[in-house]
């Protein structure tokens, strides 16, 4: 079973790869819209990547209003 910190770490790595940003510049409490410079549809694209990685399925509404990596990780953790 993965810990929340492990999930956050993997999310940050995936996000930095997908959106070609510096991994070291991302932290758990960052606003991913802002730090990655993405819109809500790009955030959904990231979500699909995360679903494939963690092998979970999250309805779109689960991430409505979520904008930081930590909360996103908590939503994924709840489905693991």
């Amino acid at each position: 079973m993965k810990t929340l910190e492990q999930i956050i770490d993997e999310i940050l790595t995936l996000a930095s790869t997908h959106f070609k940003t510096d991994r070291a510049a991302l932290t758990a409490d960052d606003d991913f819209f802002k730090v990655l410079g993405i819109d809500s549809l790009q955030a959904l694209e990231l979500l699909t990547r995360l679903e494939n990685h963690f092998n979970v399925e999250l309805p779109d509404y689960e991430v409505q209003g979520v904008s930081d990596f930590r909360t996103l990780a908590e939503r994924i953790e709840a489905r693991l």
Binding site: L44, L47, Y61
Partner: protein, 571 residues
Amino acid sequence: MIDLAQHTSLGSALRAALDQFADETCLIEADRERENHRWTYGEFKARALPLASYLQSHGFKPNARGAIIMTNQSRWSVAAYAIFHSGGVLVPLDYKLSAPEHLASLKHSQAEVLVTEFHMWRAITQCAGFGELTHLKTVIVTDPPKKGDLLNATPFDEARADGEPTFVQRQRDDWACIVYSSGTGGRPKGCVLTHNNYLEQCASLTSLYPFWPGVRYLSILPTNHAIDFMVGFLGPFVCGATVVHLRTLRPEFVREAFTRYQITYVALVPLILKNLQAGLEQRFAELPPFKRFIFERLKALNKMLTRERPNLNLSRKLLSQVHAAFGGELRAIFTGGTFCDPQIIQFFYDLGIQVSIGYGLTEAGTSITLNDLNPFRADTVGRPLPGMQVEVRNPDAEGIGVVAVRSNTVMSHYLDDPELTAETIQHGWLITGDLGRFDATGHLQLFGRAKNMIVTEEGKNVYPEDIENAFGKLPVKEYCVFAANYIWPERSMLGEKLVIVLRLNEGQTFTDELKRQLAQMNSTLLNFKRVSGYVIWDEDFPRTASMKIKRIALADAMRAKVDRQAALQEL
């Protein structure tokens, strides 16, 4: 198509459609790559009538208000029809609003019935002030948990009662819907739209863009959205067409839906158009050089041959692979033109994909003007639709003034707000607050707003007053949120931003800590409602005798004293 002139209400027209097109496919609901269900009009009726019976058996009377808060799904339309069949007034609420905003709208509209998804209902029950929701009698939820307390709600699939429900006829001037055009943090704007408003708009739009059995409309926007309500519910239903509900906005599934269901029409907000454009551009960039060369030549030829008017058959032949990527049957994409970059629209038109740009606002039904593509003009929002009188009031030297509209589609009034109604509808004319000008060919061009609000790329109206509460604990002397273009007008509706104006305490300086607090409070707002920047203002705000901020006077003072570039700091 059902002859709308023969009907006095939406319930009556829809009821006729359910019978006339009983064997045609009505709704397809897809979730990602899965198809949840596919119903004919007859099957739709078989689901809607028992729900109407249930509502009526639980005391839902004519004129009572029934609210729906749902993501994009077929049961939205079933619930809406059941409410209309029973003579009720529909309150379609935006599922993206927060639970306290839902609660406020439910209270303001005095809804007696709520049809929603369980997780939204649970969130509403957890709001402070939930106990004041005294009008609400019946709650029906979709997607209930397999176990646990439903919090006095009934699962949608169990909300059925035997017996034929009474069909309640309404007249043209009766209320059909109460649609909220702003959030509820400030002054709730519940637009009361009549059956006549919708029937007239539906007749007008379907005369330009006809539907028929076999047409497939892809519904991506939720049906509470004014455009989807018209072209993804009323329009296709009264013509016997098919609506495909996609329960996700994920770009990969949106793209796939076009080909899987061979979509004819779709309505999109600019954000999704931009995403589709980016996907296509990436595919073009990946073409080998020779193929890319050929493609560019074919595109140029298409552009030249369709300059005067579109020629769909020709474009489909010239650029067959592009059209195949959209399923091969796409006839038009509908979008709101006030906030869509003309370059994006031109991109699609050059590929032979028609983007029909409209201009509308909740208070005027769905659409006031629409580009008739004859010729295509990406820089305008088209000509007034049949039956619309549109004027530009008090034009300046360049002919730009406030757009005013008079038509049968203009709302009746704002719910419980005669003062705001009188400000907005003057002698039968709706004063839109948008700035525009007619060009020599009768096309309307828009140049910004005279009102303090923005519309986002997701098509959301955001009023500064609605979000100011989020900054209530900011340790400054006073603050006020504005649309940046309201203080410093720019002749565009693209990239509109909200900004917060801060008046610091005596001796206080703007520190990193204060900026951090500001950013933290901003992050509690939904993404599309956040402020983008801040302005430090060094004078006390002008206020009325009752201590309300005089926003117009403050904006005037700021405009006179500081330059936008110099004053506005990114957050």
